[in-house]
Symmetry: C2
Subunit: 345 residues, 2 copies
DNA sequence: CTGTTAGCGCGTTCAG
DNA sequence: CTGAACGCGCTAACAG
């Protein structure tokens, strides 16, 4: 493996000249630069990443801390992909740190080893000890999600309130007044999982604000649980005409339960999946109308947000909230009026 | 940030003693060891990863080269997760290198920078130039998938032939003789994408071997394409009673097309999804019977396979082929005999 | 515009 | 069992 010293010798210059030719941190005479380039080419020189990092005190590596990449839909996958690609564009590598939210100290210790210049946190909870630990250790970070206090901590997130507002506007505009919301599991709500908490809060507030009765339910992330909660919802409000789900797996159960009861979509009940991965709508029949997460955009923004802290020269990236994007399907229609249609048992 | 020198000073020993206490490469008197440990604790010492790598010439980092993590189902996500966790267990970090298969030289150059000790290749093609480039550069690697020549190159893979054999055995045992296979897209077949090529070959051979007529079709990865190919298949063989799909997105289209024709599953047509992600079966109604990819197991094995090359002391991991695992659903039944049932138009 | 050189923090010989 | 010292390959003063 050729070193910078080899290049310098072959090119007939000093090592610092080679170093500066590579970094461009100081002007080099074109003629010299060409000799150096030729030497690098013939030697197949590639700068040693470790030596470079040790000397410069910058690893050019970002760490992505995540609890769970797998799972249906690939929202997380899409996000990870965007993060990796944006990092590469910016000249950084991305390492994966599979830590749970309660392993804040392991994260801190790893960060202290200088392997990464900054960390990206996914799935931030309302009260997230990782944030405190990272701030105490002066580790640059950016989070996807938000803690409870919406202070000026670096973050990007989905605008859950705006997403719910758009969802309700759409449905109410079609005459729906009896609308249910199927959330993530109660465990996730209790754990302070931001999306679950914020969206439920927005649903309650917006429904009440419109003089409507919010029917909100938590639901385990599974089709089976989705079926059960649908049955329970229909029993609770026989007038129900629309269901908003924020639980992809459960949504398949919602479809199944409605089908087994002979309730057509959308003529019997309209269904709207929010905060979904792109494309999941097409997996159902009739195609589910969705508002999908802007995963790729969030990924890019998160990287930019973190990089703007690492390099003050970069234009700072403000905290951004991005609403989900409506992806029309065929699962939403006007509210059923029940005129002449058989009552459900 | 405390360094090893600080620890040595506080503990009243030399730096090399601290180093050996950490690595355990040479015996240290218990008393001394304790003083060192105490010093490390009070200083919150964490060894600098870059300095360590530079001196030891080992980065303790593995690189995962992937073309596409996103996509429905999360097979890739499950795999990535397993790789990251196994790496961590083994004391390695995992970096993501988002390169396409045709960027072999970029991969080589990155590897030469010494950022990673070895690379993992996903989605290997039958003729994969990355393998040649990596071997020429003496970069340790392990691949998920196989090249055309099944030589002793380090790899782990799904046993597509065995998977198809089990699938056919199951269906034929239930009386099915008119069986179709829905593959990935023709682009992927033409590109030499291993799973598509090997499984199709196995289908043809096994069907013919049983004296049956193989009806094999490529299909774009989308529900729409799945619908179209299902219609075409049914027109081609009106006696068809079973469909094997290796295309998750298309499978949703298969279901939709069958439903729209009033063909019940499984009484009209049985459907078996192979090489799926775990859990997708439950997304359909009736639940799809699947044979899901052993993604997590493959991930762990791939890491072990690579590590066994980096550290000759490890027990070598042989190339392994793992068949998919049957996950019973409700989409398979005995073959329809057509006695008394209305003929399709 | 270019060269010299002192570190960056740690691993690992070689002496003791 | 312990310590001193060199080197890993490169960056970034400082000196011309």
């Amino acid at each position: 493996m050729a070193t910078i010293t080899d290049v310098a010798r072959v090119a007939g210059v000093s090592v610092s000249t080679v170093s500066y030719a590579i970094s461009g941190a100081r002007p080099i005479r074109p003629e010299t630069r060409e000799r150096i380039q030729a030497a690098m080419d013939t030697l197949g020189f590639q700068p040693n990443a470790m030596a470079r990092s040790l000397a410069s005190r910058r690893s050019l590596v970002l760490a992505l801390i995540y609890p769970q990449i797998a799972g249906i839909g690939g929202t997380a996958g899409e996000f990870v992909q965007a993060v990796a690609e944006r990092s590469k564009e910016a000249g950084y590598q991305l390492v994966l740190w599979p830590f749970r939210a309660d392993q804040a100290h392991d994260i801190r210790n790893l960060a202290r080893q200088g392997m990464a210049d900054g960390v990206l946190l996914m799935e931030v909870c309302l009260d997230d000890e990782r944030i405190d630990v990272l701030e105490a250790a002066h580790v640059p970070y950016a989070m996807i999600g938000r803690t409870r206090d919406v202070t000026q901590r670096p973050s990007v997130d989905i605008d859950f309130a705006a997403t719910m507002a758009k969802a309700l506007e759409h449905l109410v505009g079609l005459g729906h007044t009896h609308i249910a919301f199927v959330n993530h599991s109660s465990e996730q709500v209790d754990a302070g999982y931001g999306p679950a908490v914020r969206t439920a809060a927005a649903f309650d507030e917006l429904m009440t604000g419109r003089g409507l009765v919010p029917l909100s339910r938590t639901c385990d992330d599974s089709p089976v649980a989705g079926r059960a909660v649908t049955a329970e919802i229909l029993a609770t409000d026989p007038e129900l005409t629309a269901i908003i789900t924020m639980n992809e797996l459960a949504t398949f159960g919602v479809y199944a339960e409605l089908a087994s009861r002979g309730l057509a979509i959308p003529s019997g009940v309209s269904v709207l999946g929010i905060v979904t991965s792109p494309g999941v709508g097409t997996l159902s029949y009739p195609p589910l109308t969705t508002m999908h997460s802007p995963g790729a955009e969030l990924g890019r923004l998160a990287v930019d947000c973190l990089l703007s802290q690492l390099d003050p020269a970069r234009t700072p990236v403000p905290n951004q909230l991005i609403p989900c994007v409506l992806e029309p399907g065929m699962s939403i229609g006007p509210a059923r009026t029940d005129q002449g249609s058989p009552k459900r048992p």
